[in-house]
Symmetry: C3
């Protein structure tokens, strides 16, 4: 076995932490490939929120080394005719249902595959738990050195399902974006690039104008929700030791309007 | 050291994730046996809910490879005269308090032991944290290759405490089961075998009749709670992108009545 | 590489589990040092609650073996001029912002350092996510065998920020302590040593007198909140299969008064 091989597998799901579902997926992988290093990326994606999961992947994947396998399962339509897919990127492989989860990665994917060779799944595949029955065993084969082209059937990447909302609408003098993610602190994370901040003339959420913070959370005026450059490279609406979501009473999907100089 | 040895230890507790208790248990194990692979099976068992923990173990353990050590601690009576036990199964070892947690495994256990040799515990055993002081150090000895018979005292497996409710009452033409587990999505998981589905004439929860879903979650009629074959091999009452628990306003322990053809 | 070297890194944060922030920190570490063993000590510290985090560290660190690296990040002032520090203890290294998190460890620290050599951070350091950009890469250097004195600048440990409330006020015949931590079960953990229990004449929280429990949780009278010796070595107010916090309607920071014989 190649000692320098990457054996990291990340998991992004809406399974939550209250059930043994995540542990069973890890059991499948570590029982078959003990050298795997499994990292929980996110299990608290709001149930069925494909946009939040796609966003979570988008801001996280760049921090993992080449060769990492990312499993992402937010799958309200599990067990229907929906495909299970694999994206071969320059630096990683992403396994997911074909429901838009992989939207941020399709443009730069080298190849796309459909997982439809049951000999690489668990011997009995349930209709409702493909993370355990399909994605985990396929990840084990990949860790073992089997190539994706041998495990799956290549498909046209243009045929993959996409979700709307990950990219803002940019026009001369204006940007229309939205809140794509709300984190534990109540920070409202937009899909508008942080570099935009220096060009903002006015920024609104709904009809409410927002001020720009000078720097990080500590520089926000008490009791206000203000705009700063988030650590993931996007504009973020935050409060000082408080929740911007509570202050503004908005949620994921809310539109953000910017006029630029 | 045998390179093929299984070094997986799973943890099932009601400790939750908000405190450092689980991390300390892992610290004990990894500080003494760095090759251990610890998997969180479930830490969000409702506090003191022994039935839910027994169920969580029952549906999870089959997915782990031979040699796995399962530690299960939901223990409202910790520090009383209650025994700490170990079950030697064909494929694994289960460490738990003797309060019914191991009910699903007693019938097929090869041997049962009581953990009562303090030389294998932490030097100071608290009255309230036996996962740290007793079960983790015993798991370390097992990982190190010490046999259970040397670590513990064999007891009659018929003497172990059992909980009611894991098995339904099956009679000719009828089955009376119950909801044993409610998962994050609000799926109501019963203790009635999924194979029963094809023989159902009528299924009720309380006085309410339920329809059978054609297939998986995606095939359930909008706004209804219907019955499908869950991924763990048991009948499950679920809704489509919604919570069956919210729709039906029932909870764990509720009875489910089936008449069969 | 030294096979006996400790490669344990623990994480204590208020990041919660609902976002990919913890997973990204792990990705940084495992992508650069695959042999690391990362243990989640606590990610559910109440947002910005430095006292709870300091307490969580205090009761957990003794259970980890020599050489462990502890990263602690509860950091409402991230991105201001506040220092990032490292404490060199006899048995471990603690990395944290200089905001009081390390209070319980300053007295016995061998040396203190400020992390201010950007060549050891990620190439681009955000203003809001130093766990990822500063602490994780510094931990990687430590795991790789680089000495703290080469990674950081020594500072006077007396210059470090401290928080109040970790130590009770002990006078002849009386102790005034407080609730420093409330755990998942609603147990109210005080900062008063468990050894005190045998000398208690009266113990009050606010104006309410509390009874002493005979032993562990199982010995508490039904429906009452009583005082026992917690597993961490401190007096704890608990209830039997119930939440002492709910019964008493108090929260972290509440004062506890003891008169001693």
């Amino acid at each position: 076995m190649n000692d320098d091989a990457c054996r990291i597998v990340t998991l992004t799901t809406d399974f939550g932490q209250k059930d043994p579902y995540v542990g069973v997926v890890k059991g499948i992988i570590l029982s078959r490939f003990p050298q795997a290093q499994i990292i929980d990326l996110n299990h608290e994606i709001p149930p069925f929120d494909i946009l939040a999961a796609a966003w979570s992947l988008k801001i996280s994947i760049p921090y993992f080394k080449a060769g990492t396998i990312h499993i992402a399962v937010v799958d309200p339509r599990v067990g229907t005719s929906q495909r299970r897919i694999a994206l071969e990127m320059n630096e990683c492989i992403i396994l997911a249902p074909d429901n838009g989860l992989t939207t941020p990665f399709i443009a730069s994917a080298k190849k796309a595959y459909a997982l439809e060779k049951p000999q690489f799944f668990l011997s009995s595949v349930s209709k409702t738990f493909h993370a355990r029955d399909v994605f985990a065993p396929v990840a084990v084969r990949l860790l073992s050195g089997i190539a994706l082209r041998d495990l799956a059937v290549e498909v046209d990447k243009q045929s993959l399902t996409k979700v709307e909302g990950l990219e803002p609408t940019v026009e001369p003098g204006s940007i229309e974006g939205l809140i794509v993610y709300v984190d534990r602190y109540g920070n409202l994370i937009t899909n508008i690039c942080a570099e935009t901040k220096s060009q903002i003339k006015e920024i609104r959420i709904g009809s409410r104008k927002l001020k720009l913070a000078a720097g990080s959370y500590g520089t926000i005026d008490d009791g206000e929700a203000q705009v700063l450059c988030g650590s993931h490279g996007y504009l973020e609406i935050a409060a000082k030791e408080a929740s911007a979501q509570d202050l503004l009473q908005v949620k994921s999907g809310e539109k953000v309007f910017v006029t630029t100089v």
